[in-house]
């Protein structure tokens, strides 16, 4: 600051503009990058939805045909349904399991807690591609670990085709995703649990509340913001599911048998990049963005967090 003092004491015309321009110069890189890499692509993607393209080379205006096509394309409907089922499974199966594990760890001894926290979190360190390859081997009919486990345990499943039978494909994906994400979400819940005011829980217990009532009426509301965050990010993550099916079903490029593993992002990739129709791909992108936005908004409204 000291080197600017003379200009304050002895103003001149040229330098008096400088302090006013300086802030804009500093934020200019951010504004330029945002404009080039975010605002322009968004606007361009919106315009592209009105075109049919063959990559960036040729395009033809087709109005809203991309949207009417998506409204009637059974493949897109399958993709949307599969993704929604996966999102529902993520919220209804994965998160309760994460919460249960967090509660168990929160009540355990500190050494065991650190050990199990690491064990449960570790699948998240290896990346979805590796997990996909690993589970592809584990789900192999006759020789796979999961098939052999069920066969030994209950005499069923040795030749079960987890990744070939359309009815078993989604359970297989959900199971694989659970292995990856349960530990990750558990860390959030565990952190939230550790910040819950123990005096409130103690007071509830003194008032005669049982363990479930303490959890339901005191603990859970106290960690509401974290729960909302985890639910919203899980929904967003679920609607962006891409790598896992792609690795589990490499032969069909992630679609699975009878499109049973097809997700909306995989559909987008297929039409936009494999087929080169960037217009249709953009339309899918916008639809996914709107769905995620609406679901997140609905979730926040429902939990009352928006009022705060």
């Amino acid at each position: 600051m000291s080197d600017r003092a003379p200009s304050v004491e002895k103003p001149n015309k040229g330098r008096s503009v400088e302090p006013r321009l300086a802030p804009y110069l500093f934020i200019a890189p951010y504004l330029v990058i945002t404009a080039v890499f975010m605002v322009y692509p968004l606007i361009n993607a919106a315009i592209l939805t009105l075109y049919q393209t063959n990559g960036p080379a040729s395009r033809v205006f087709i109005g809203v045909d991309n949207f009417t096509h998506l409204a009637t394309d059974p493949m897109f409907h399958t993709a949307l349904w599969n993704t929604t089922v996966f999102a529902a499974a993520s919220v209804l199966l994965q998160l309760p399991l994460s919460m249960t594990l967090a509660l168990l760890l929160n009540s355990g001894k500190s050494r065991a807690k650190a050990f199990f926290r690491l064990i449960l979190f570790s699948p998240n360190l290896v990346g979805q591609i590796f997990v996909g390859v690993l589970f592809m081997v584990m789900f192999t009919p006759r020789y796979g670990m999961i098939n052999r486990f069920f066969h030994t345990l209950i005499g069923w499943g040795l030749e079960e085709k987890w990744l070939q039978d359309p009815a078993l494909v989604m359970p297989a994906i959900v199971l694989t995703a659970m292995w990856v994400w349960v530990g990750f979400n558990m860390i959030y819940f565990l952190a939230a649990l550790q910040s819950v005011d123990k005096n409130l829980e103690e007071a509830a217990r003194i008032d005669g509340a049982n363990r479930f009532q303490v959890f339901w009426h005191v603990t859970l509301p106290s960690m509401r913001h974290v729960v909302i965050f985890v639910v919203v990010t899980s929904i967003i993550g679920s609607y962006q599911l891409f790598e896992l099916p792609l690795t589990l079903f490499p032969e069909s490029q992630g679609k699975g048998p009878d499109n049973s593993a097809l997700t909306v992002i995989n559909y987008l990739y297929e039409v936009g990049f494999n087929k080169g129709d960037l217009g249709l791909g953009s339309a899918v992108g916008w639809i996914v963005a709107i769905i995620i936005f609406c679901l997140s908004l609905f979730n926040i409204k429902l939990s009352g967090a928006a009022k705060e």
Binding site: L25, N54, P56, P141, P257, D258
Partner: protein
Amino acid sequence: MIERFPYGKAPFWLTIIAIVSAVLVAYTQGQRARSRPDLVFATFASNHIEAYKEAIPSFEREHGVSVSLQLVNSRALQTRLQNAMLAGTDVPDLVEMGPSDMQFFTGGPLEDIGFLDLTERLKREGWLKRLVRSRLSLLTFQKHIFGVPHDVHPVALMYRADLVEKLGIDVNELDTWDEFVRVGRKITRDLDGDGVRDRYMIDLPTSAPWGVEIMMLQQGISLFDEDGNINFNQPKTVDTILWYIEQTQSEHRIAFECGWGTSLAKAMTDGLALFYIAPDWRTGTTQQEIQNLKGKLKLMPLPAWEPGGRRTSTWGGSAVVIPKQNHNTELSWKLAKHLYFDPEALGRRFLDTNIIPPLKDAWDLPAFKKPNPFFSGQAIGELFAKLAPEVPEDWATPYRQDTANKIGDVFLRGGAYFKARGKKGLREYVARELDDAEAYIQHKMDRNVLAKR
């Protein structure tokens, strides 16, 4: 100097770093552009690369040029090439890719196809007569040939000769699929009484469409005809799908899906299935990857669908194309011919890969008649050369993968119907599903406004 910079030390250094980075990037880009070899050849096929490494130095010496050989993952090669061509950025001078990749480059109007039209060159130089004609169909779009095939990929059956002979099966009698199934039903068994079958006649895929497609092609049913019209919806396709459901899902099934990689190696070693669908390239990968089966395998032609019928089909392939944006068309064409049409090099390449080239002159070379110890001393080159002229046509189309997937879906749905309701009404159901598949693909074709321009 730092003191005189009006915005402080940190912005000063950030500005310096930005300037230095920009200069470095500009310099390295310039260097890279200057050091570009005369030709760049990109391929996805790791099993071809050694042969090319041997062949390229003589080409470089003969023409006084430098050639860079690049191995790129097939998926990356296809998407990067597609985007680079459409965006007009630098591309390799020659690209080796799977002929089915043609579908990604033929979605728009003919002039958008970024490869050189080789039709006239091939005609003028007499190559059309010397190559297996059906292989050019994979590279032919709207009657224009855009590539040179690397291989023929006739399909045979690879079998565990030791086990088959022990069971008293005479493979010479397995000349039709009916006979094959009859024998298969006898030997498909639960050997240890635990309720799970331990021996199947054949490995057939149920989760991917290639098995059904091979059977369809064997009967001459290509997905599309030469003019780009849908060709798959035929009564014979219904028959094929019903047959496939019977062999893979019924009580009398003779087939099991052995998968790929380690599970396939384990299944082959255990003798879980006795027969395996084997185009020439698969015999090469088996030879390299499952060495403990040396001397235990043999090859036979596919059984025919009717007595005296075609004994082969085709699966996969690769081809060289020359992007229009290449740096030297004549030199690129010469390199393509050097790598693909030099009979001596093709003989050596066959010994490395077991892959039969489409150049018919090459098949008389001693390399193709040499007994292969891995396949119990059988001269597999002779067998493949005998099957090669029979390989069916399969025309290039932008809707290839969608159509193959749809046929796979029809098979899966037919299988689910069969499991739930048995054979009653199955034929009508499969026929209806095929009609729906045709309508879906036709709708996609009708919707492609760009292709019609």
